[in-house]
């Protein structure tokens, strides 16, 4: 069972269909069981029940999640696969001490793969949709997997199956979410 975490400004918000709905649809199509919780409602039972986690993105001006780092302290000890998308990448990096730096990208961006990884295997680059105001400063415990001309677009923990993507794979790059689900299946 995958835990989808909604990072939007409140539970059941107007942004939910934009950032959480498309991920839920991809999992439904892949016949992958999931349950969704707002980040303020993730506790021990949810964490325990999850085989993997997807942290969804938020609207450009929606940064309320960043004011509650205490709600994400479970991430370093989780140990199972995590995919952080856009704001979710920021949450993941922050949980390992990574900060942010200004880098606004809105629209399609060319992404180059920098390091071999099963997530991007066989691809040297692709065009991706981004809507973000900040990029993350990559924590020491992570490696950079892909970049645009302006900032790091994908990271992975050096020893744990934790991924962060600055762009939105659910827009025109659904194959990346599908590969994450395959990695998750293989990790079981």
């Amino acid at each position: 069972m995958i835990l989808i975490v909604d990072l939007c400004y409140r539970a059941g918000s107007l942004s939910r269909d934009e950032f959480v709905g498309p991920i839920e649809r991809l999992l439904r199509e892949a016949k992958t069981p999931f349950f969704t919780r707002h980040y303020t409602a993730v506790g021990a039972p949810e964490i325990e029940a999850a085989d993997g986690v997807i942290l969804c993105g938020t609207a450009l001006r929606d940064t309320g999640f960043a004011e509650h780092p205490e709600l994400f302290r479970w991430l370093p000890a989780f140990g199972r696969p995590v995919l952080g998308i856009s704001s979710g990448m920021r949450v993941l990096a922050a949980a390992f001490g990574g900060g942010t730096e200004p880098c606004c990208e809105i629209g399609m961006t060319d992404v180059r793969v920098l390091a071999p990884d099963p997530l991007f295997a066989g691809r040297e680059g692709f065009s991706a949709y981004g809507v973000h105001e900040f990029a993350v400063q990559v924590p020491d415990t992570f490696v950079s997997l892909a970049a645009s001309d302006r900032c790091i677009q994908a990271i992975r923990h050096r020893s744990l199956p934790l991924y962060g993507l600055l762009f939105h794979p659910e827009v025109r790059n659904e194959w990346i979410v599908e590969r994450f689900l395959q990695l998750l299946e293989a990790a079981r």
């Binding site: 059941g12 918000s13 107007l14 942004s15 269909d17 934009e18 709905g21 498309p22 649809r25 609207a59 450009l60 001006r61 929606d62 606004c104 809105i106 629209g107 399609m108 949709y129 809507v131 105001e133 659910e170 827009v171 025109r172």
Partner: protein, 226 residues
């Protein structure tokens, strides 16, 4: 949060408005009227009736005209959003973007420049579920423009009911177009919505059609009790 809805009178922006009303406070509709029939952003055949739809919804309408030149129209969009903020205190904008990265990114950029939230409640929506929901929720939508084969003149003015939706499904499958007409294969006009206190009654139309390209122009319409 006080929101303005970028409104064309078609199914996507009207449905997005309804979604927004369920979560936040929609305080106005915003329409950019393009003089350029080729405009990727704003052109739609019956935009002159947005005022009547706004009246049906009991919402004020902020209207701005644009010559429709590619990047200039973004300045006109910014002008419209600024007017909506000044008059109605909007803090964010709602769009009916579903798949168009071109449209969505441009509105996102303008909103960022103006420090406004941007919401796209139909973004990447499941098209099948969306079309079903339109009918189930009580929206009444007609086809007001066709711009691609196999949509011939008989489609102009047709209401999207269950039978039409079945036909659209078949066409989408055969012709590899989106069920919702996102590629501009057809345009729609909303004559009734769950949040309209009265519905639009079409009194006179004119049709221009040639070779799978046609428009149903609503010449005269009024509001009637539902």
């Amino acid at each position: 949060m006080k929101l303005g809805v970028l409104f064309s009178g078609g199914k996507d922006s009207t449905f997005a408005c309804w979604k927004a009303m369920q979560q936040e406070e929609v305080v106005c509709l915003i329409t950019v009227i393009s003089g350029n029939p080729e405009s990727y952003m704003f052109h739609t055949p019956n935009i002159h009736l947005a005022a009547l739809q706004a009246e049906a919804a009991g919402l004020p309408l902020v209207e701005v005209e644009t010559a429709g030149e590619k990047e200039e129209e973004l300045l006109d969009l910014a002008r419209a959003l600024l007017a909506a903020r000044e008059q109605f205190g909007i803090e964010g904008v709602v769009t009916g973007a579903v798949l168009s990265v071109y449209q969505a990114a441009r509105v996102q950029r303008v909103c960022r420049e103006l420090d406004l939230w941007c919401f796209n409640p139909l973004w990447n929506a499941d098209q099948e579920a969306y079309m079903e929901e339109i009918i189930d929720a009580g929206f009444r939508v007609i086809i007001a423009g066709v711009f691609s084969s196999p949509f011939d003149e008989s489609w102009l003015g047709r209401e999207i009911d269950r039978r039409t939706l079945d036909e659209l499904r078949e066409i989408a499958r055969k012709h590899r177009i989106t069920l919702i007409g996102e590629g501009g294969e057809f345009e729609t006009f909303v004559i009734d919505a769950p949040f309209f206190s009265r519905r639009i009654a079409i009194e006179e139309v004119s049709r221009v059609y040639r070779n799978y390209n046609g428009v149903l122009r609503i010449e005269r319409a009024g509001l009637v009790a539902k």
